[in-house]
Symmetry: C2
Subunit: 239 residues, 2 copies
């Protein structure tokens, strides 16, 4: 920024794009809108919009999140800046620099038309088909980032309601990572990490039907996991 006073500068349009992720029926879903106009008419796209003059990217992202999900209170939701996409040709109409965010929702409010006219839908991750612009890339980056942060942070609780069972927490890991985890070992690890979860005393809940009722937990105060909860290394890759 030292060059301010010497360089001529071009104006850019600045947008935010959101990869809003949640778990529905044990599968990872992403919130997508359908484009009505060219370019990419008929294609799905990540929700987003232009930065307003008095907004930071984070503020704009949270505003868009509220508009697209219809939730009245998005202040507690985890919103994380991914990176900024600025390739010159990424929007055929004009030069657009887009700050991408990942948002994590504990439960899935029904999809609906947000503040925008475009309809928003929950789409299972991976079945979205080709998205508009470079949104496939952004969505992949979001998934990679979330998967990685599950390893060394307490981010998984952001997918859970305020009170949750360890089984639900485990399903977050399994769904995002696409792997199965050993249940006793997962319990041991989570409970041995101070501040990851704290028990809600004397409570139990039926998970849905059969089985022994599970104890309820709340998210703890810790933010990082030491040591991390590593996902099982893939076959064929060196350990």
């Amino acid at each position: 920024m030292d060059g301010y006073d010497k360089y001529a500068h071009e104006p850019f349009a600045v947008t935010v794009d959101l990869a809003v992720l949640t778990l529905r029926d044990g599968a990872l879903h992403v919130l997508l809108v359908e484009r009505g106009q060219e370019p990419y008419a008929g294609h799905r796209a990540l929700p987003g919009g232009f930065l307003q003059p008095d907004e930071s990217a984070e503020t704009a992202a949270r505003r868009e999140l509220a508009e697209e999900t219809g939730l009245s209170d998005v202040s507690g939701l985890h919103l994380e800046q991914l990176r900024t996409y600025s390739e010159p040709g990424r929007d055929p109409r004009m030069r657009v620099v887009s700050v991408a965010f990942a948002a994590l929702l504990p439960h899935a409010p029904e999809a609906h038309g947000g503040g925008d006219a475009a309809r928003a839908d929950w789409v299972p991750y991976g079945t979205a088909g080709p998205l508009a612009f470079d949104h496939d890339r952004i969505l992949t980056d979001a998934h990679d980032r979330v998967g990685a942060k599950l390893e060394y942070t307490c981010l998984a609780t952001a997918f859970c309601p305020p009170e949750f069972t360890l089984g639900e927490l485990q399903r977050v890991y399994e769904t995002v990572w696409g792997t199965e985890l050993d249940r006793p070992n997962f319990r041991r690890k989570v409970l041995a990490t101070p501040g990851f979860v704290e028990p809600v005393p004397g409570t139990a809940r039926l998970t849905g039907g059969r089985g022994k009722p599970a104890a309820l937990y709340r998210a703890g105060t810790a933010t990082t996991l030491h040591p991390p909860l590593l996902r099982p290394p893939r076959e064929g890759r060196p350990t």
Copy 2:
């Protein structure tokens, strides 16, 4: 970006800011320029500049890196996008959205006036005094990010010349983390991680003066560390 066709949008100036880090004399240094004009005249700032119309942020960052360091070939250097800073008041003159990068240099070319008139200097990390704009925050974020990535990636070799000793590699960790590591344990860990480093056969070098000559290694093909090389947990923080 679905709102393109409905929202009026404000143009923004887009810049890149660089936290260029290297090791000099066993201490972490950062490349800073001195501002000659208001605002923040006389303060140091991170090097950077405006995005050109045909550039991505990465391209602009690498161009700025070459200009400020004077290096003829910056193509092999590690350049990593940190995040984008977009608070409305971060530049008093106008609305500027800045994409920040961290760059890692193996050796420190002498500081000099780059393509810009502003002089560039290597300044020990932590002694920079208050920087212009929100550059203190950016620099802190860069340090945090690099420190974290040392744990689970092979990023440390980006601070090293093409051939290096394990002692040099260890000093990267110690310098960035500000901790001391046990030398035999560090060796064991690095050598036990496939693809982290590979030996340069039959070579040895004197580290500078006394002591047994150390074997030389090159960076391997691996990019991630499984399991990670965790920094010792700080006292007072839960493990």
